[in-house]
Symmetry: C2
Subunit: 324 residues, 2 copies
């Protein structure tokens, strides 16, 4: 059993990362108003959040700018228009997907950007490119983290091999990512153990990014806190793809570091999040996400089920088990 | 770290208790149609649920029968009308609240009732009456469990004293009840440890009844499974007072005993539960329940906030912290 003090005291190394615009943007094609983004920035400042992820730096030769809001691309000019010189304790992050970001061209020197942290997202079969992106970002002056996605369908031996390669790179943080929302807390503990071996060997930090398919995003995140994971992703009202993520309001309620404050989060949700839902953005736990999580499948079929306005859950279950 | 086998294998001692009509009845004054109740009984039969709790055996001299549906009182005649002689593996349970049940008069001999299990619910200060109810039910031939409520505001020494008294009674199962939805998985593990000492000493079983204020009802329930708790309460679509309970669909998805089957649960939810919500029944996680859970308060203020159709969360937060 873990130390009692974990619940009463706090670990100063914890970093809270607000991923609302990035993972939430997958729900509404990043169509957030400037007032939403500015209010979110201010709420994060006031609530003591450590990093705010603004979205992706997607390749404009692959994605049409008219099809998405600005957080799909996170131009430095756009970010400056929101955060100015950002002379605050809140650091700015963007995500760069392997294969969807023209990083050599589109990620500029840190001195010309308000961004502090580049989050490289990769599948296991793309690790060498991820390493190239990590070194590129590091050379340009950024902090760098790496998310290995879809690990719930990977072998531990492959994950170990990837962590050993990443360990020798300049990356600062390894992220445990439960892309399909299929992991239970005990499995998170085991993953933290595995990732922790390589983090200790190569002097890296650990992070977690959870999904709520089985209603466990928050539970898995606080399990990870007890297992030595320091970087914690959360989103306001759990907004994120499919079943959504770990809710910021739950996480800040749990963390005992006096620098965190739940109140600005409540104010922001009250002002903006229900309005977003009323405007048609749909996310959050529902049976179709539970089912893909249980079966350890990508949630794309469940997202389509949601988009189609279906509620014939038992028919959907038969469809997806026949794909096994 | 717990054994890996816990996630792959199963413990045959696990009992799943469907509390939909009882805890869910608190949401809609027990106004369930006969077809709802019959379909639920059949869904439980087909999904391998072990016990089905039909509601309370409330005292008709205290509560007006016109103000509630039949599951508030669970007359034996009513139960017979749903389950007949119940020649099945599914056992029937009712709850008897200390101070709200005229047990000597209203709980009849087991030979005259389709009920198998009497669930006595008590606060710490009512333990002697609870013991009297336990012995009364036991003498009449029933299995008996006991829920000690509101333990998150109790001292461990008081809980220990209560468990020592209950241990010497004829009760079969001690239930860990997180009435306010304020406990984290690590605290559940500690509670299971404390309750487990007395369960071992007096040869009793352990149960858990969780609430979802902090989105942890399922996580706390499966934490308890790993800690040796055998009796697990759940409700369809997590229907229950305030933030609701551990969802049956999540629990049956998790349990690996081949006798459990999630499919009839999905079918029932599809047919009945969304309709219930559309009909005006409101339950489930929302910020007001998070707040009372965080502050370890009774959810009654949050329930009122919900009934009043309010969404000024930050104002509510100020109201309840000023009551501290």
């Amino acid at each position: 059993m873990k130390e009692v003090s974990k619940l009463m005291d706090f670990r100063a190394d914890i970093k809270v990362v607000d991923a609302t615009l990035r993972d939430g943007g997958l729900v509404n094609d990043f169509r957030f108003s400037d007032s939403f983004v500015k209010d979110l920035y201010n709420a994060n400042l006031r609530s003591g959040v450590d990093y705010m992820e603004f979205g992706y730096r997607a390749d404009k030769e692959m994605f049409n700018v008219d099809d998405f809001g600005p957080c799909k691309f996170c131009d430095d000019d756009y970010l400056y228009s929101i955060v100015g010189e950002n002379n605050t304790d809140l650091k700015i992050a963007i995500m760069a997907d392997v294969g969807r970001c023209n990083y050599k061209q589109d990620i500029h020197d840190r001195s010309e950007s308000p961004v502090d942290l580049i989050r490289v997202a990769t599948y296991l079969h793309q690790i060498p490119t991820a390493v190239d992106m990590i070194e590129d970002a590091k050379n340009k002056g950024y902090e760098v983290s790496c998310n290995i996605m879809a690990i719930s369908t990977a072998r531990e031996s492959d994950i170990s091999a990837a962590l050993d390669i990443l360990g020798r790179s300049s990356v600062d943080v390894f992220y445990i990512v439960d892309s399909f929302g299929s992991l239970y807390p005990e499995q998170i503990a085991r993953m933290a153990d595995l990732y922790g071996e390589f983090a200790a060997k190569y002097n890296k930090k650990l992070g977690i990014h959870a999904h709520d398919n089985q209603h466990l995003a928050f539970a898995n995140t606080i399990e990870a806190v007890g297992d030595g994971v320091d970087w914690l992703d959360a989103t306001y009202s759990a907004m994120g793809r499919g079943a959504g993520n770990c809710a910021m309001e739950l996480l800040l309620g749990f963390l005992k570091n006096p620098k965190y404050n739940i109140y600005p989060v409540l104010q922001f949700i009250e002002k903006h999040m229900n309005k977003l839902k009323e405007g048609g953005a749909v996310w959050g736990y529902d049976l179709q996400y539970l089912m893909t999580g249980l079966l350890n499948q990508h949630p794309r079929t469940a997202i389509q089920f949601t988009k189609d306005g279906r509620n014939d859950y038992s028919e959907f279950y038969k469809e997806i088990i026949s794909q096994e």
